[in-house]
């Protein structure tokens, strides 16, 4: 069945129907989009976090990795935009072995191709270094749009998408909750303190995605089988022309020490009628908590 489909697709390619369709789409005012989605493998949010011996990182022994939940909105939005406008989607991740699974997961959801940036130099990068690596993968490759989760769960730096946009010298819209694209221009709603702001502009652009943008789909079994046939392109520092320029050693940000938050002391329940509870509470806020 899949073989037959491939044969038919080859026929379509030979007859250049895809190019014709793209032309037709462009003529009708709907330009196909070339979209890159940057994703990160993070410890499963259910993981019981332990600090590593050197106190510079968490202990990864036995940790299960998942795609950072905010990146799921970016993947979903890329798929939705492709369904509407046509085009192609690529997912990019910087990391070691753990990145393979999340790239496969994105392919299973329907992303067309994947780039895995894997180089020992790129272990423990700071946000700026990561943005430099991603920019090297993206620039000059004809992308119209880059989607990133607003932050990687775990590190929670919330910096890579904005830095990436600056390095590419593209406009940026952070914390996107609604996105519309038409004829190379975008109209996007972003979250700001207590309100939504509407931003308009033209592509290419970097969006970071926030909860509320969409409902991410599940990978399907068919998608999983199709994903096994898709290739994951592997790139290292040399291939990106970054050897000696970007590495964990050269990163400006150094982690001195990480520690678990102090365990929360047990709460106290005040008893009695409302009047005496309020009285007691005010007294405790004055004497014990010393906040009023």
């Amino acid at each position: 069945m899949i073989k037959e489909f491939d044969q038919k697709l080859d026929l379509v390619k030979q007859q250049n129907i895809i190019e014709t369709l793209k032309d037709l789409q462009a003529f009708l005012g709907d330009t196909p989009l070339k979209i890159a989605v940057c994703i990160k493998a993070v410890p499963d949010t259910e993981t019981k976090i332990q600090i590593a011996q050197d106190k510079k990182n968490i202990d990864f022994t036995g940790v299960r990795f998942i795609v950072s939940p905010y990146d799921e909105f970016a993947i979903e939005e890329a798929l939705k935009l492709k369904e509407k406008h046509g085009g192609e989607t690529t997912v990019i991740s910087v990391g070691e072995g753990e990145a393979t699974d999340i790239l496969r997961d994105a392919l299973a959801r329907g992303i067309d191709s994947a780039v895995h940036v894997n180089d020992p130099d790129f272990a423990s990068l700071d946000p700026l270094s990561t943005a430099k690596v991603l920019a090297a993968v993206i620039k000059d490759n004809g992308y119209d749009l880059v989607l990133c989760g607003q932050q990687g769960v775990g590190g929670d730096n919330n910096q890579v998408p904005a830095m990436l946009a600056e390095l590419l010298d593209w406009p940026q819209v952070m914390l996107t909750v609604k996105a519309e694209i038409e004829n190379s221009s975008f109209k996007v709603e972003r979250e700001i303190e207590g309100a939504h702001e509407t931003v308009e502009g033209s592509l290419p652009c970097v969006f970071s995605t926030q909860k509320g943008l969409n409902e991410p789909r599940y990978p399907s079994i068919k998608g999983v089988m199709a994903a096994r046939k898709k290739e994951i392109v592997i790139k290292d520092a040399n291939a990106l022309g970054l050897k000696g320029q970007v590495s964990g050693q050269l990163a400006k940000l150094k982690v001195k020490e990480i520690a678990l938050p102090p365990s929360r002391p047990q709460g106290r329940v005040l008893e009695g009628d409302v009047d005496s509870q309020v009285k007691k509470l005010v007294e405790l806020l004055r004497t014990e908590a010393q906040v009023i």
Binding site: A108, Y218, P219, S220, I221, V224, M225, R228
Partner: protein, 383 residues
Amino acid sequence: MDFNLTENQIAFQEVARSFAQKELAVHASEWDAKKIFPKETIRKAAESGFCGVYVKEDVGGLNLSRLDAAIIFEELAAGCPSTTAYITIHNMVTWMIDEFGSPELREKFCPELTSGQKLGSYCLTEPGSGSDAASLKTTAIKNNNHYLLNGTKAFVSGAGETDILIVMTKTAEKEISSFVVPSTLKGISFGENEKKLGWNTQPTKAIYFDNVEVPQEYLLGDKGMGFKIALKGLDGGRINIGTCSVGAAQSAINHTQKYMHEREQFGKSLAQFQALQFMIADMLTQVIASRQMVRLAASKLDSKDAQATTYCAMAKRLATDMCFNVCNQAIQIFGGYGCTQEYPVERLMRDARVHQIVEGTNEIMRVIISKKLLEEGATLQIR
């Protein structure tokens, strides 16, 4: 010989596990308490491919093996055994039309079943015929170019909410035939929803057939083939029920393991009491044994082994008994909390209890196994 899952199977397992955690596990308790049949979730499951796992691809199925299906359904069942058990029944019904239906029947019914737009039910049991299934009394009498169906089916999973019924009927004395019957046909009515011990996320009702005109093209397979079709369906159905038990028991173990670290008595966690350590050790051993038995039976069915029916019966018997015990023991470890609906283990136990009866009671499984085993030469054929 290799007991490891293939890369594909591991990927299927991941897809099913993630669906089960996000779409089933979080709602199962509410669905159970309020007796909600989650049709929308079942449709979502269809989008992931779970409504036609071993149905052919040209009608929307995945055409995977029974072994693959067992791996997938086990993960779903860990989220909600009751809803998953219904999904497996739907798969069985869809497969029966795919396998035995005419090209017209397949094209008419399978695509909407694999896509979850329509749901299926299996109607064999009657008020007076359970284990003695062949004694069924529902009749289908030929009349011009249709059959007239009359009779009552009992304990039909999904009844009243499903669209496509597979109905076993008598077409002559000692002749059983099966039909595909749309549930909207004139003359079909439903009984009250049974108040049940478990499987509360799917309705169970009687269905009454009163002079229901079924087009003759809706005969499934040949006339007189009905009982054979019913039994073929049940071979796979038994693996499915076994696998739902394994999923339920694995889920019980997952919850118990966590609870044993959290709960403290006499100044130490439950995990430090040897009596309970031994209990959970036995629980896991029983689940692993059940899982392997179910997978063995599934692969026997996949390779069309001549003894597949016997293996399916053994797997169903073993897995449903052992996994019920595991869920029951989980309640013991949880103590008083295990008896409350605050924790899922009592629900898992109630659902697992149903599995010892449905799809052929475990006593009927022993009848099937011993009948085969006592044949001459059987000791060499089944090992």
